[in-house]
């Protein structure tokens, strides 16, 4: 694996008044890596993710994502990242095809490219019979898979996933993770924010935030050994207490 770094964060900080939500965090994420970004409710992971995706400005420190400074090149940064959350994914009142066309449009894909991508997604996920169905009528599990495919429609360097599989049945969840693995194989870096430990265990490397700081960072195996635990749940509880 080449040591190309897709995210570099250096003493990244964000304060809200007197409260420091993100407190001098430093880490990097390699190309093609599946990076788990964990933390308890209110540990600062949402704030950090918002800064990395250019939605929120930082109060201190420095970070680049996909090679772009998060402060100076916000717009170019946004073109090179994908984003998917459980809450925001697809327009329920548009059909599958219309959704793909819309997202193709906002990321500046040409008509031809969009058509090609649509065909590719429909074929890979085996959606031929529902391509003109309204999203609201499609089961949750399928929606998640479609949402992920749409999030990487513009072949971003990195895709941010926010609790992508909470509430999904275990088989669909694994099918979903297979899509993520596939994307990673193709060189797309995957950044997963979650507090569901089973999602975390699929990641190549895991970072764990507590009180605005990164308390631990390493592969699942490294963390389990270091904290003498059987599961990420245990590591989490040891760290958060």
């Amino acid at each position: 694996m080449t040591e190309e770094k897709v995210i570099v964060a250096n003493n990244l900080t964000r304060t809200f008044g007197k409260f420091t939500a993100v407190d001098h965090i430093s880490f990097d994420v390699r190309r093609g890596e599946i990076f788990g970004f964990l933390g308890a409710n209110g540990a600062g992971k949402t704030t950090a993710t918002k800064m990395l995706t250019g939605i929120l400005s930082s109060s201190g420190g420095y970070a680049t994502v996909a090679g772009f400074d998060i402060k100076k090149h916000r717009n170019r940064l946004k073109k090179n990242i994908g984003y998917m959350s459980q809450k925001f994914s697809l327009y329920e009142d548009l059909t599958l095809k219309e959704n793909i066309r819309f997202y193709g449009g906002i990321y500046g894909l040409s008509k031809k490219e969009t058509a090609a991508k649509t065909g590719e997604i429909v074929e890979r996920l085996d959606l031929k019979q529902i391509e003109n169905t309204l999203i609201s009528e499609i089961p949750l599990g399928w929606k998640q898979k479609i949402a992920f495919s749409v999030a990487i429609i513009h072949s971003p360097k990195i895709v941010f996933l926010d609790e992508p599989t909470s509430g999904v049945d275990p088989i669909t969840r694994r099918q979903f993770w297979n899509l993520i693995y596939e994307a990673a194989e193709n060189g797309i870096t995957v950044f997963v924010t979650t507090h569901y430990m089973d999602e975390a265990e699929y990641c190549d490397r895991i970072s764990m935030m507590t009180e605005g700081k990164i308390a631990a960072l390493g592969s699942l195996h490294e963390l389990l050994t270091k904290y003498n635990s059987k599961s990420m749940d245990e590591v989490f509880i040891k760290l958060a207490r």
């Binding site: 308890a40 509430g167 999904v168 049945d169 088989i171 694994r174 430990m197 089973d198 699929y202 989490f236």
Partner: protein, 304 residues
């Protein structure tokens, strides 16, 4: 305490519950485990008398959920799917309000919520909207407990909270159980199953299987292998071509492979080697509830 007989619920053409039956005994901690959209919330609303079933009958503490709804509403503590609190009232005001609504006072049943409330005490003048997810969850539980209900109905109480709060929450439920409260709890987390006395695995409005967590895990019908390798994704792909496999699913950074009893370790190791997978370890393991659930699901899928 809870008896459900052939309950079905439809919304137009959509069948949310399809002839579900089970019983929860007094003092039991019963888990309803299944993904979103499996009909758990509809069932809770039927039991709390908020919805009428399309067909079938349910009783809670002997009261019929349709005809005796007034009685049920006195003895049930209910925590809906979202933490339903008044976000603009403080912690204390919320608790006081719900106590009054149930014709009681905080002091009268303080012993029930004492332990939870001690964790909330430092924030008692904070508005509920400003609490963290875990704290909201504890406050919602306190509000559901304040009138000393005989039965607790908790709809996905651990969704949206971190593992620490989740663990605290289950500890509390266990303690409540000792004081004689019957609890029916739903959750999408398979891990939570092991903490219940009995669980029903639900999917698409039907019960796949119902038993104690131990029996469910022991009842896994295949040989199960845990395979740790350098690259899970590759391993899974390679195992796709392993002829005698029954199923292969990733579990964290390992793969769980189910096979028939006649398959031995060497055959698997050889197959992986042939396809250049760097094996780290392989072992026979006991099934997890999630293995059981997926196995049952794939039967369902196959049959339909």
């Amino acid at each position: 305490m809870i008896a459900i007989q052939n309950i079905s619920k439809s919304y137009g053409d959509v069948k949310a519950l399809n002839s579900i039956s089970f019983r929860v005994e007094k003092g039991q901690l019963f888990g309803l485990i299944g993904p979103d959209g499996s009909g758990k919330t509809s069932l809770f609303r039927i039991l709390t008398s908020l919805l009428k079933p399309t067909s079938g009958k349910a009783t809670v503490a002997g009261f019929n959920t349709v005809t005796d709804y007034k009685d049920i509403r006195k003895i049930v503590g209910y925590m809906p799917e979202r933490f339903s609190l008044y976000m603009d009232l403080t912690v204390e005001e919320n608790l006081k309000f719900f106590a009054t609504v149930f014709n009681t006072t905080i002091r009268e049943n303080y012993h029930l919520i004492e332990e939870i409330y001690q964790m909330l005490e430092p924030f008692k003048n904070r508005r509920a909207g400003d609490l963290s997810g875990g704290m909201k969850q504890k406050l919602a539980l306190s509000c559901a407990l304040i009138h000393k209900p005989e039965i607790l109905l908790l709809d996905e109480p651990t969704t949206g909270v971190d593992p620490v709060s989740r663990k605290d929450f289950w500890d509390i439920l266990k303690k409540l159980q000792k004081s004689g409260i019957t609890t029916l709890v739903s959750t999408p987390f398979m891990d939570d199953a092991e903490l219940c006395d009995e669980v029903a695995l639900v999917q698409k409005g039907e019960i796949l299987k119902m038993d104690t967590p131990q029996n469910l895990a022991n009842g896994f019908p295949h040989k199960l292998w845990k395979i740790v390798s350098e690259n899970n994704y590759r391993t899974l792909k390679v195992l796709d071509e392993f002829e005698t496999k029954i199923s292969a699913f990733s579990f964290g950074n390992s793969v769980h492979l189910a096979t028939g009893d006649d398959v031995d370790e060497q055959a698997i190791v050889n197959h992986l080697k042939q396809h250049n997978v760097k094996l780290i370890s392989i072992a026979i393991i006991k099934a997890h509830i999630e293995d059981v659930f997926m196995d049952l699901m794939s039967h369902e899928k196959g049959s339909s």
